[in-house]
Structures are given as C-alpha cells and as structure tokens.
Symmetry: C2
Subunit: 223 residues, 2 copies
C-alpha cells in the first residue's frame, strides 16, 4: 500500500471526494450491486468521469475494463486510505440544537469515527445521556478527553463561547477541530482545523441566484 508521503501528496479535494465516493458506494452496495462505472459515480457526485478515474488512479485502484469498479473492494481501499487503524473518538462541545442534530445523525453509523461524549455548561444536560451519548461538564474535559482518548472536537457552542471552548479543547490535547460556530477560532499548528458556516453557503447561493436572474439565464452548477 501507499506510504505516508504518497498519501499526504493526495490533493485535499481528492480526500474529500474519496469520502463522498464511499458514501455513495455504500448505498449502491445496499442496492445489491457489485460493480459500478466511473460515469455512474460521476453522475451521483456531479463531477466528470475523468475526475473519478483520476482520483482512483491516484490511490492506485484499478477497475476491470467494461465491468467497472468492484464496489466492495473500492470501499475497503478508501477505508484503508482515509480511516485510521483504530477508532477515532470525537466529542461535541455544546449540546444544543445543532450539537444534538449532529450526534443523532452520526449515531448508529458505520465508520471508524465515533462521537463518544458531549460537553456542555447547562446543569440540566450534564450527567444525562443525550441521543445515546453521555454529556459532561466542561470542567471535566481534560479528564474525559484523556480517559476516552478523544482526538477530534466539534464546536457547536454559542459564538460568544467559541474562543474559550476551543482553548479548552486544545489544552485537553485534542488534535482536530471542526468549528460550526460563526466565530473563527485560532489553534496551534499541530491542531487541524476546519470551519464551516452555513451563512456563507447561503449567501453564495443567493449571489449566483441573483446573478442568474439578472442575466435571465442559467449559470453553471455549484462549486
């Protein structure tokens, strides 16, 4: 299999697409299919077949001519590349509306990723099991992160608390953060950070919708 450097050389976009391919492939598998063509994957993902084949080339997977790719094999290979050997444990900080939606969405899914704890400051939540996972007070973060070997934190606290919460996560030894609050946070170099805000997405859609209306004609699809 590919060595570390080769894996790190994979384009970031390819990593994202591999995750998406796998999700689509798992659905196909459920439908009882065994093989799939690049153009079928492409259709699902709104990209070109060439891109699919190129991604698969980069990870060194070969299909069979005129038969396509073996879905099971491909799923497994993607797993070998993007998943860790052992489970990676995840915590949600801020078990509010969004936090609970994420927990619910995740729970009961396959993956090498598991949400194993929530953190909150609301006494009514602390000590309870929420959507199947235990909720702790933030003062226990250090201990729980260590004991449960939590590597990634998902930030869904109110924006005003984003900075302090991210500091706590970093201090507790977390290695990756996904920040869903609209407040950009800062983390040290050794912590991997992704930020996402729905408003940006919506404003972008609104912009292209506006432009399409002004032109009275179509614009090509999303990013």
């Amino acid at each position: 299999m590919k060595d570390h450097q080769e894996l790190l050389n994979l384009p970031h976009k390819t990593i994202e697409r591999l995750s998406q391919y796998r999700r689509a492939l798992l659905l196909c598998l459920e439908d009882g299919r065994t093989h799939i063509f690049s153009h079928e994957i492409a259709k699902i993902q709104h990209i070109t077949p060439v891109q699919v084949r190129r991604d698969l080339m980069l990870i060194g997977y070969s299909g069979t001519l005129r038969k396509g790719y073996n879905i099971r094999e491909l799923i497994d290979l993607i797993g070998e590349i993007i998943d860790s050997e052992e489970m990676i444990n995840v915590a949600v900080v801020g078990v509010g509306n969004l936090g609970r939606a994420l927990i619910k969405y995740f729970n009961g899914k396959r993956h090498k990723l598991y949400i194993v704890a929530g953190f909150d400051i609301n006494p009514e939540k602390i000590g309870k099991i929420i959507n199947g996972i235990p909720c702790f007070g933030t003062e226990d973060m250090d201990r729980v992160v260590r004991e449960k070997n939590i590597k990634i934190g998902i930030l869904t606290v109110p924006a005003a608390n984003a900075i302090e919460s991210s500091k706590r996560l970093v201090d507790a030894g977390i290695k990756g953060i996904v920040n869903y609050t609209p407040k950009p946070i800062e983390v040290p170099d050794n912590v991997y950070l992704e930020e996402y805000d729905m408003v940006t997405t919506l404003e972008k859609v609104a912009f292209y919708v506006k432009m399409a209306e002004l032109k009275g004609e179509k614009v090509e699809g999303g990013n």
Copy 2:
C-alpha cells in the same frame, strides 16, 4: 459599480470570502472600530494579507494607506456585490433537529436573506409556528413558494426523502438549493445547488489527524 459580467468573473472563492469578511467586519463594528488592516482581516480568516488585498482589489475597493480599510464602507460595498436589491426569501424543508437549528441560527440576523417558511410532513408540526416561522405541509409548497416569493430551499429532510423533496422544490420554482442531507440530489441547470455533508468534513479532519500522528509532526491547517 461593477457590471454583471465583472461580478460573475469574480472567483467563487472570493465570493465566499467576501461573505466571511463581512461577518468578521460586522463584529469589529460592534466593537466600535472604524478601520481595519488587511493583516487583521487575514488573521481572523486564517489567510494571508495579500489574499485579502487581492480580493478587495477585485471588487474595486481602496483603503487608505497606513489607516487600513473603512469597515462601514467595506461592509456596504460587499453588500452591494453579494446581496440582492430586495430581500431573498428562503424555506427550510424538513423541520427536524437540523432544520430547527438552522432556523434558530438565522432568525433575528441582519442580511437580505430570510427564512420565511418551513415545510414538513409531520402533522404535529404543520400549522404551527416553529422558532418564529410558520410550518406548512409539503402539499402546499407550490402555493406558499409562489405567495411568499421564495427563491432558495434548504433541504434537511431524512436522506430517503431528499430526492422527492428536491423535485418538489424545483417544481415549485425554486432557484437555489442547499442540500444538507447525505444524499446527493439532481437539479436542472437553472437551479444553483450546493451540497454539504458533515461526515466528509469530519473524515477529512480525521485523515489529516491520522497522518500527523503517523508522522509525529505537524501538518499545515485546513483548506
């Protein structure tokens, strides 16, 4: 001001960043500041000052040397570019955990974007006001979209219902869709589509965290 073609030539990434700049600038304004330097904006957004200046150059905004950019002016200019003249109305389809989180997050915010309706099939939700917005049955989508002049739909139904719901939205005449279900949907060319799935984000973070651990050293930050 810039004409349509010039606006459409702006890089997609610049459009996204303009939205983000504005959000950050609004916070600065609340802090009572009047001016800001490119390197300050850059710090907040985890990008380089050059990129900020380049984006602002592209939209034709000039700061004052040694004083930076006028926050108020810049916010207004960004608004002129990415916002529409009139309000753009938005609907949420699937008023569950995620849908409610989004509504709550949006409600009471500035913007030219407003979530004005929710759609669901659960009889307990239909007819109610949820987080301040009225919830309708999906059978009324055509009518409500027309009456309320809704342009954008946010899809937060269960994955199994994503396809049918997106079709309904398109049939009702919607012009943009943000799909938060893990099921990729298809829309005609004249509908602008953005899809987002948290699992992809988390798996990407997990991948780079894993790689960092294997290397025993740092990787550079997110995308």
